[in-house]
Subunit: 329 residues, 3 copies
């Protein structure tokens, strides 16, 4: 997973200059949201984020993303495990905290303090979960991001200083009544699948989706392939099961599945037929977990974020060695 | 826990013929729902399930049970741990998934796809939880069944393709107002206790309850004794605490306690006075956990399934070696 | 953490006389609620509890506290780990169960049976959680108390034999509307901070708060200092974030933070600048977790108890060795 040829000159620079090293690690932090340890991937990802944030009229989200990654990387710099820091593993949760908080909370000075605090705490939670899970050789994935963001979004109901007016209203769950008026076309399908990729960073943008794919392909072609297959399979599964069509169209049933597909298919396994079948089952189950978590979080009034991916992938990664004939560790 | 005398000829056949071995393992899978590693027990259990399913006018539930056990056993056959597979440990969660889904979801083609997917995933979750818990030498119990089924039942609220009209309507909890008109008699008490046993498989049937007891006794007399004592104690505790009488009558406060009693009293400990007292405390506490989970799941609109048993038994099994003078492992 | 000079004569007596040893361990059990292994601390704590219980017109709470500690200590006496028993580590959860149940459930004979059962089960849960967490060298904290009490409070909705009329009514969460009529003064601030300390035992009393502080100082001046700093920082943070003023005034946003401050600042770390900064972040995050849990438990109709402390402290204690240059274990 280490970047080699295209970044060798850059790597040399980074090892000599502290500022360039910091930029390098910050970029890797952004890339690690989709498991890539490559500063160029991170650059494409940040481009996608700024295109998406400004395109959706929410630039705070893009700047929050940058701030969160920087703060988390700064804080992580003072910890013992330099290897994890250098790989950007302390940065990616802060990146997502910085994307999610401005998406659901109003833009106030307290919001920015929350992004700073949340990014710092995300590093602590990262070490905590990584420490616990290394007993079973499983990664923390984006669980630190989800837990810290959930805590702050839930707290916004209790604190007048945090304005969560963009959050869903807490309600009792009820069976879905499909709004059948939504027409469907091939072009809509392509949009949905690309939104599925960009929604990993809470963005609905075709251009961002493409930039994320390019960023993935720069480091790993397999990752890009599994991302595409994951989002297509998830959109089809959600449509087959009769999920809310507006949500399907926005990629809301696909973004967790995209991460499951990359994780199971290319990051923690070497692609093979057995791995492919395992990944397909994992992606389909992720869609069920997405529906289940949508239901169970309705009374809490918070979004699932990427927790369906985290739960489904943990379930499928722990038994990896019992299911797969050989695997990378 | 291995079946010996009455099945020795059968065991020999099973070791020579792949089809008979598969039938053997499928039967053991059903028997493992109540911790018994014996194909004859599984035969009695399947008889009880079909009697109950047809008796209640829900044959889909019986066929679902069979399908779930078969699919889970088929899938488990391809995994590394042959010993677990042979003991039926990959089958029992699929068996319960197949019983639960047709009980709460309408009989559509999608339901049967869900049973197949759920049974496969139940094996993966089984390996995952067993792997995690072996750190503390505790078994996965029926947690894989509960988690997979919960995911699918919760998802039914989000997907029009799954019709969960038999699920409880999500609501806010409120203190119980007892319907005091229900008369009570010795015969009703006997029914309640037998329902408590058959409800482990989501069946309310006196004959099924008796068949389950016979199936238990075939392999372990102690298991049958603890099942009876567990259901009696649970029904009495729930009545003393003033639980909803209709639920008590249907065995809804007893089925988790039955499993706690068998697990603590006979499966994971050798019966003794100390074990008996520990089991009694465990069974009474299971009734509290049942009431607590009924409350906490009210807004989610899903049943507790056997989670009260799982939680109470984990709590009591982890400290086993610190509490018991000697114990089987 | 062992009591030395002021209790040496007492220690000698305790080692010779079983009754005095039992009293000694019971007092240590009470002191361990705030991590102190000192019978004199326990004596001050019990004084604070009785002053508070009678002062608030709820003496049952004080007697429940005593009963819970005694029952848990009695039960723990029969277990293998004598060192934990002698340090009062089996008693503190029973102490809190005995304080919490009479605070939220009506005073009936069943209540007292629940205190006895809950205290016994709290010891079992204590061993269970301690066993699990020792894999990562983290303590169970007050999690056993919270889990057992939650189970019984939730069960009170399902059982007419338990009258939980003092529990909050289950409701859907909604953004806080601040009641701005509450005036604020320096004297109110002092009260709030002292309530923050006494509310660890579910008491709102200035005198109790002072007695708890004296009890802490008897064993560890640092613990008392961190308790004061923790409650002050938590009250200020909650006010800055715009938490419900009535709750802030009653110390409801401070009691978990007080425990986080003592745990992170003095019990599991040796005070230093690095530790101080870590503790400040931990205390501020505990206030967020308190707000989050207030929201998420609204539909369940139960109080958070000290769970915000438990969750925040676990998150900050597991990574301790990766963050701190040196630390006590």
């Amino acid at each position: 997973m280490d970047a080699t040829a295209p970044t060798s000159k850059w790597s040399q620079l980074a090892s000599q200059n502290a500022v360039i090293e910091f930029i390098d690690v910050t970029l890797r932090g952004c890339a690690q949201v989709m498991f890539q340890n490559n500063p160029l991937t991170g650059l494409f990802f940040f481009a996608a984020i700024f295109v998406g944030g400004f395109g959706e009229g929410n630039p705070a989200m893009a700047f929050g993303c940058l701030l969160g990654t920087v703060v988390a990387t700064l804080f992580g710099m003072h910890l013992k495990d330099r290897a994890s820091w250098k790989a950007g593993l302390y940065g990616y949760n802060g990146c997502l905290v910085g994307a999610a908080l401005p998406t659901f909370l109003a833009n106030t000075p307290t919001l920015w303090l929350c992004i700073i605090l949340g990014s710092i705490v995300s590093v602590i939670v990262m070490i905590c979960i990584a420490d616990i899970l290394k007993t079973w050789k499983v990664a923390a994935l984006t669980a630190p991001f989800v837990l810290v963001t959930w805590a702050m979004l839930l707290a916004s109901y209790a604190f007048t200083g945090l304005d969560g007016s963009a959050l869903p209203t807490p309600a009792l769950a009820h069976p879905l009544v499909q709004d059948s008026d939504l027409a469907y076309s091939a072009s809509q399908f392509v949009h949905s699948t690309l939104y599925g990729i960009s929604e990993v960073f809470l963005i609905s943008s075709v251009i961002s989706g493409l930039l994320f794919l390019i960023g993935l392909a720069v480091e790993s072609l397999w990752a890009a392939v599994f991302a595409i297959c994951g989002t297509v399979l998830a959109v089809l599964t959600a449509m087959f099961l009769g999920a809310d069509q507006a949500s399907v169209n926005n990629g809301m049933y696909a973004f967790s599945a995209v991460l499951t597909a990359i994780a199971l298919g290319s990051t923690f396994n070497t692609p093979s037929w057995r791995v492919l079948i395992y990944t397909i089952v994992g992606v389909i189950f992720t869609v069920f977990v997405q529906g289940a978590m949508n239901t169970v979080l309705t009374p809490a009034g918070i979004p699932t974020l990427t927790m369906p991916f985290v739960l489904a992938s943990w379930l499928f990664l722990v038994p990896n060695k019992d299911v797969m004939p050989a695997h990378r560790q």
